[in-house]
């Protein structure tokens, strides 16, 4: 059980940051993961009184407050329209509607869980976290940073017309993914992210320039070969290293092909 002595619904971020400097205190997200832990904490810090449960859209970006639920990501029309329903696809397999009404974006992203569908998708987008002390940090950097005592205020996604396709494989519906992948194409440049390796999601860019803007099968083969050689995979009860590496190749190929199909109006060379 997850136990704590005091509960503080903070009035401002500064208060949350100061309380969070103590190792014995903890910030609450959706508390679905925290409740599974057998820990005793002094003070639980609740950010839910700060109006951070909203998605704000500007002409350049989406600003997603840390207390926005996964269900909100799934149902936000404009966010999904901008990214080919990637958000809906990345979260709809996570347990159930009731779970996604509770789980928060901040909780998923700050924890950088090794099984995170959400982190895998954000990593393939031009996205940032807004930290109270650390300011705006790109997701690319944030995914590699160790956990610290900062406060994640919001997640920002740039509206850069990138095309994205999210895919995952599960041993059974609603379970954790055994592999998660997102392919993205921006101005003819391809990147993919691979999560549930089963470690934190990892970005893989086409540095070798294997892929042209509309790549053929041979180009895709070479790119996937590069990806398989540079991304590290591991074994756990859901799947072996080899199985994950193989599936990542399959899913990334499908992701690239889906993006190409959408762009060429279904006509592929």
């Amino acid at each position: 059980m997850f136990r704590f002595k005091n509960y503080v619904k903070v009035q401002e971020l500064k208060e949350a940051y100061e309380l969070n400097q103590k190792k014995s205190n903890v910030v609450l997200g959706g508390t679905l993961w925290l409740k599974m832990e057998d820990i005793n904490k002094q003070t639980a810090i609740d950010l839910s009184g700060l109006g951070l449960d909203k998605i704000t859209e500007t002409s350049e970006e989406f600003i997603i407050g840390c207390m926005v639920s996964l269900r909100d990501l799934e149902l936000h029309p404009s966010l999904n329209e901008s990214f080919q329903n990637g958000f809906k696809e990345a979260v709809r397999h996570i347990v159930g509607v009731q779970f996604r009404n509770c789980a928060t974006v901040g909780g998923s992203i700050f924890a950088r869980f090794g099984f995170s569908d959400v982190l895998t998708l954000f990593l393939a987008l031009d996205s940032y976290v807004e930290l109270y002390k650390g300011g705006r940090v790109s997701m690319k950097e944030f995914v590699k940073m160790p956990r610290n005592n900062d406060i994640l205020v919001s997640v920002i996604v740039k509206k850069d017309n990138r095309k994205v396709c999210y895919l995952s494989e599960r041993r059974s519906s609603t379970d954790f993914p055994l592999i998660s992948c997102a392919a993205a194409c921006h101005n003819g440049e391809w990147t993919v992210s691979v999560g549930a390796r089963p470690a934190r999601a990892m970005l893989f860019s086409d540095d070798q320039k294997r892929l042209s803007e509309i790549p053929g099968n041979e180009e895709i083969d070479l790119f996937i070969q590069d990806m398989k050689e540079s991304v590290t995979f591991g074994t756990n009860m859901r799947g072996s290293e080899e199985y994950r590496r193989h599936l990542a190749g399959v899913l990334i190929r499908r992701g690239i092909q889906t993006i190409l199909k959408d762009r060429t109006g279904g006509v592929l060379g």
């Binding site: 997850f2 136990r3 704590f4 002595k5 005091n6 509960y7 619904k9 609450l28 959706g30 508390t31 679905l32 409740k35 599974m36 639980a44 609740d46 839910s48 269900r71 709809r92 347990v95 159930g96 509607v97 009731q98 779970f99 009404n101 509770c102 519906s173 609603t174």
Partner: protein, 159 residues
Amino acid sequence: MKIKFWLNHVEIEDEINPDTPLLEYLRGKNCYSVKRGCETANCGLCTVLVEDRPVLSCGTLAVRVDGRHVVTMEGLQEKAKEFGEFLADEGAEQCGFCSPGFIMNVLAMEKELRNPTEEEIKEYLAGNLCRCTGYMGQLRAIRLFLEHKQNLIRGGEAS
């Protein structure tokens, strides 16, 4: 710590330990429809509505419903009975332990989705586990229940 909220439309003020899960708190208030069927926030048996949204009360802290409206099946008796009759007619239930959480989520779905397809229904209810059945009876009951609701709306429009 003090909380004040609405439980099944009745305002309640209470003193609670801040780390009490909503599930245990509600059972302490005689809402025995709210059950714990797993330890991993996966089964959906503890589903209640907070501000009309279905949530897992096992993973929600009771302090977080301060100022909000919580509805359990005890507060939805009539609607639960209406759908329950469809479940019974289809022989959908076996042990019935998972029914309250399932019914709560079906009622939430009925409010949220307009003319859902079978796939949409399955996806909405994927977080409600039943280990006795194969869900076929439940799906038949839902289809008939939604048709019945639609007919009521149409009937209302015609008259």
